[in-house]
Symmetry: C2
Amino acid sequence: MSKPQTEEQAVDSEGDSSLHRRDEEGTQSSHRMLGFSDALLSIIATVMILPVTHTEISPEQFDKSIQKLLATRIAVYLMTFLIVTVAWAAHTRLFQVVGKIDDTLALLNLACMMTITLLPYTFSLMVTFPDVPLGIFLFCVCVIAIGSVQALIVGYAFHFPHLLNPQIQCSPHRAQSRRHILRLVLRGPALCFVAAVFSLFFFPLSYVLMVTVIFLPHISKATTWCKDKLMGHRESPAHSVEPFSIDLHAPLSKERVEAFSDGVYAIVATLLILDICEDNVPDPKDVQEKFSGSLVAALGAYGPQFLAYFGSFATVGLLWFAHHSLFLHVRKATQTMGLLNVLSLAFVGGLPLAYQQTSAFARQPRDELERVRVSCAIIFFASIFQFAIWTAALLRQTETLQPAVRFGGQEHAFMFAKLALYPCASLLAFAATCLLSRFSTAIFHLMQIAVPFAFLLLRLLVRLTLAGLQVLWDLRPEHPQPGQGEPEAQSQLLPAPC
Amino acid sequence: MSKPQTEEQAVDSEGDSSLHRRDEEGTQSSHRMLGFSDALLSIIATVMILPVTHTEISPEQFDKSIQKLLATRIAVYLMTFLIVTVAWAAHTRLFQVVGKIDDTLALLNLACMMTITLLPYTFSLMVTFPDVPLGIFLFCVCVIAIGSVQALIVGYAFHFPHLLNPQIQCSPHRAQSRRHILRLVLRGPALCFVAAVFSLFFFPLSYVLMVTVIFLPHISKATTWCKDKLMGHRESPAHSVEPFSIDLHAPLSKERVEAFSDGVYAIVATLLILDICEDNVPDPKDVQEKFSGSLVAALGAYGPQFLAYFGSFATVGLLWFAHHSLFLHVRKATQTMGLLNVLSLAFVGGLPLAYQQTSAFARQPRDELERVRVSCAIIFFASIFQFAIWTAALLRQTETLQPAVRFGGQEHAFMFAKLALYPCASLLAFAATCLLSRFSTAIFHLMQIAVPFAFLLLRLLVRLTLAGLQVLWDLRPEHPQPGQGEPEAQSQLLPAPC
C-alpha cells in the first residue's frame, strides 16, 4: 500500500519490528522478489511481438511469402507467450509453497529467471530451422535446467522449513507435500528429457511432447475431472489436509495474476510510444527539402499516426481499466479464469501489431480494409476473453466474486456494461467495414476515439437504468432482494456528478 | 503477499468484506493503479536507451561524427530518464495525499499516463532540431497538460473527501493542504507556461527554464535548507500538522521506489535477450553456405555474444539483488536517497549499451579497449550510486535504516561487503585494462563471470569474519554490545551450509 508511515508510527513500530526480525533472522518476505519475477516474465512474454511488428511490409511485397512469414511469426509469438505463462504458473505454484526467502533462494530465483529468458531464443531457433532438431534439443535443455533450479529451490526450502508457508511448516504431512510439489515441478522437465532423447533420432515426436508440456496443466486438470466424474470423488488425503497449496487445481494467487497482467499492459502501452519515437521524428534533411524548413508542416504529415497512437493507447488503457475493475471484485482466480486471462493477454500483446497496421494507412492506402479487420479482430478477441473471465467467474460466483457483482448485486449491471463495451464496439466496427468498406479507416478511428467517451457515458446510462430499476423496485416493496442493500448504500455507490 | 486464501478464510471474511465494501462504496484501494503507473513510467524511462544501442557503429565509421551522435543520444537518454523520474516523483507525492481512487480517478490517471508517454517524443524532437523552438513548445504543452490533469485529480479528490488520505480527511487544515498540493503540482507547469511563451521569440531562455523544471524539487530543497540555516527553523504551521504528505521534503513512499526500480531492472534484463533474439538467430542461407548446413557450428560463432549475455544478465540480476537486500533494511527513503537511486537506475538503464559494446567484440576486435572501459564505467557508476544510497541512509540511520544494518548492527558488515563488491570489481577491471590492455576483453568477461561466485563466497567470508569477531568478543565479555543480540540469534542469521 502506498500509505506513508508517519514518523511516530515508525518510531512506535521499532521495538516490534526488531523483535520480529530477530524472530526470523535471514529470511525475508518474498513479496518484492515475486513482483520482480512477474515484471520480468510479463515483459519477456510480450516483447516477442516486436519481431512480428518489425516485419517490413511494403505494398508491392504484400504477397503470399510475406503472409506466410507473418503467420509464422505470429505463431512464434503465441507459442512463446504460452510457454512463458506456463513457466510463470509453475513459479506461482512453487512460491505458494515457499512462503519466505533468504539470499540463497533469491540468487536461485535469479538463475531460474535467466534460464527462462533463454526460452524465446530457443523457440526462434526452432521456428527458423524447422528441420533441424537442435532447436528442440536446446529448448528441452532449457526446460530441464528450469526444472532443476526449481527442484533445488524446493529442496532448499524443505531443508530449512522456516522458509515454508506456515501451514505446510506445521503440517504433519510435510514429506508428502514435498513429494507432491517436486512431482509438479519435475513433470514437465521429465517429459522434455524424453523429448530431448527423441530429438536425436525422431524429432517430430519431440514436437508433440513439447506441446504436451505447454498444455500439461490443463490436460491434467481435464483428466482428473473425467476421472472424478467416472469414479466419483476420490481425492488423496493430502488434498484434504493442505487444500490450498499443493492441489493442482487450487486458485492462482490473485495478486500475482494482477501483477503479471499489469506488466503486459504496461509494456504494450510503452511499445506503442517507442515506435512513435523511432519512426516519427522527421529527418532534418527531409524537413529542409520537402517542407521548406517548416517542422510544423512535417509533423502535420504524421497526423494520422498520432491519431492511431491516441486510439491505441486509449484501447490498451481502457482494457487495463476493465481488467482492473473486474479483478477488484474477484476474490480468487480459478485455473479456468487464469487460462482465459492469459489468452486475453496474448491478444493484448498483439495490439502493437494493430497499431502498426493502422498507422501504416498514412503511407499506403491499399489493403486498408484487411488491416482494419485484423485490428478489429485483435481488439475483439482481447476483450471477449476478458468478458469470458467474468462469465467463468459467475459460474462459481459465491467462491470467486465479491457480493456486489454477483447476479442481483449492486454493480452487476455496471460490470456487465463495462466488459461488454469493447466486444460490442469492435464487432460493430467490423460489421460496419463490411457494409461501408470505403470508409473503413474512418470507422476504425471513430471507434477507437468514441469508446473512451462511451466509457464516461456508460456511467450515466447505467446510473439512469439503475435509478429506473430502483423506482420500479420501490413500487413493489413485497419483494425485498437480499443483495440489494439499503437505498442509501446504492446511491453512495454512484459518485455524484461533479 | 502471495499467501493464498483458504476456502474457509474466504467464507469467514465474506460478512466482513461486504460490510467493509458497503462502508466505502465506489472507492477502491489505489494499490494496483499505482503499480501499473510505476511499471509504465519505469519502462518509458528505460526504453529510451534503445535508440542509443541501435546506433549502427561499424569500425570504419567510428569517427568524430558518430561519437557526436552517440553523445547526443546518451544526453537525450539521460535527460528523458530524469524528466520521467520527476513526473514519477510528482505522481508519488500526489497519491500520498489521495489515498483511495474511484473509476473517474482511474480514468484521469490513464489520461495523465498518456500525456507522460509523449514526453520522450517531444524530447527527441528538441534534440533532433535544436534550432527550432517547436520541440520546446510541445514539451511545455505536455508538461502543462500533465499539470492540468493532476490539478483535476486534486480538485476531484478534495471535492469527495472520502478519497483523501485519512489523516488529511480528518484534519482541520484541509483547505490549506489543498492549496499546498496544488502549488506543488502546478509549479512546474507554470514555469513551463512562461517557457512556452519565451519559446516563441527567445528560446534559449526556455531551455534554462526547462532544466529548472527538472531540478526544481532539488533546487527548492536546497533553497529551503539554506533559508533554514540563515533564518533558523521557521516552518509553516501546515508542516507540523501534516508532516508526512504535503511536505516537499517528506520521504518518498518506499514501496513505490521499489516498484519503480524493479520495473527498470526487469526491462533492462529483458532488452538484453531481445537483442539476442533479434540479432543472433542465424540466417538459414548463411548456415547452408558458410557452415555447410551445420547449425551447431553457426551457433558456435555466436559464442562470445552468449558469454556477454550471461555476464550482463548476471550483472543486472546481482545489482537488483544488492538493491533488494539494501531496501529490505531501509525503513524510509529520503529525498537524497531517492535522487541517488534514480542516478543509479539511469546507469543500470545504460547496461544494454555495455552489453552491445562488449558483444560487438566478436565482430570487430578493434577499439575494444575503449569499449571495455565504457562498460566498466557504466557498471561502476550504477553500483557506486547504490553504495551512495547506503551511505546517505547511514548518515541518518536511526530514521532510515532497520537496526540490523546500522553501525554495529548484525548485518552491517555483510551489507557493506554486498554493496562494495561491484564498485571494487569494476574499478579493479578498469585498472587491469590499463596495465594489461591486450587482455582487456578477457579481463572484463572474467570480472562479469567471477562476481556471481564472489557473491556466494562473500557469504562464507563475511561469515568467517563475523565468527572471528564473535570469538574476539566472547574473550572480552565486559563490553556487551547493544545491537549484537544473543549468540543464537546471530547463528540463526547465517544459514547453515547445505
